[in-house]
Amino acid sequence: MSHHETNFQGDVIVAIVSAIESKIANSKADVNGGGGHYTIAVTSPAFAGLGRVDAQRLVYSAIAHLMAGDAAPVHAVDSLRTLVPPL
């Protein structure tokens, strides 16, 4: 897997999880990866009734600041799953 240079200070996974969980209501984020590539699964009732594109957009906009620019800490999201919690 390619490695991407970044100036980001601190743990990228922690940053992704806290960005998602603070911006999406009642969400739980499960993030793995490194070297610029991450897999993300998010569970939240906020996704209920949303189409796949709109649900994924919520997540992408929560972490947009981590994906911006050439030296972004999140270079690629290899897999993104948006799940609604069981009733």
Binding site: R52, V53, Q56, Y60, A64, M67, V77, D78, S79
Partner: protein
Amino acid sequence: MANLTDGSNPTHAHIDAILKENRVVLFMKGNRHFPQCGFSAQVVNILDEFLSSYKTVNVLSDPAIRDGIKAYSNWPTIPQLYVDGKFVGGCDIVREMQASGELGGVLGADAPRVVGGAGSSGAGGNAVTASADGPPKVTLSASAVAAFKQALGGSSDHPRLHIPSNFEHELFIDEKQAGDIEVEADGLVLLLDPGTARRANGVRIDFVTGGGGEGGFKIDNPNSPPRVQPLSVKAFKAMIDKGEKFELFDVRTPEERAIALIERARHLDDQGVDYLQGLPKDTPIVFHCHHGMRSRAAAERFLSTGFTRVYNLEGGIEAWSRDVDPTVPRY
């Protein structure tokens, strides 16, 4: 969203135009025939199963498009699939839609269930329909239907024909999957995945038995590009017993031929080559050697000279002697 009013965003206008002119558009890295990223390749492979043509835009060849499409879609990653001007999703979403069976409908590439024709193997006149994206016409002979039914017993599964892009046909028992196209024949249901369905128009499945009662399925696909077809010694024996027309060539040395021969095989010496080259290009030609390796190489070479029905006798005269005619000496 697109901004056309003051012409200050020519990239957005360009993207608008592409989406207007093409029903299905994939913004990707690389192109359809040479994807340059694993996620783009995954989407291409999936689309290839449903569509014979669609537009791809290589974002690597234009940085303005690479950034522009992300802004246009409000979506940070590549690949991006559009259908009828609407953003459908990236790799994850396309894969989920394929797994759930909804992708065909979104692409407008659903094929309805097909009622195939079961008939005796002598029945002619099953015209191959020309449509590339309509349902495929697949014929099962009566003996093939009987052989499938026997193989299935009481199982609730179905026979499946799988044709990958290299046309190495596979036939096996399987469960129905989402998106399958079904061919019905005589109370039997044959399953085809969408990619197979695109390659299966005009396919005929038969079951041939040789003198000893053994046999195998024989699949004829008019869409197969000419390639060397492996032929088992048992299937070859069945062809002979049925009186099928073919020419058999032995590619071994004269010394080997002095030890053991298959009846009616012509030696591929200079005379044999001349004779072979004079044959019509659609003559079924079977090549054999001792174990089946030299004959495969010879078969490949003759394929490139324009012959379309070329077979390699798998296992060679060794397998022939062992499994069909033990009177032929082994060495």
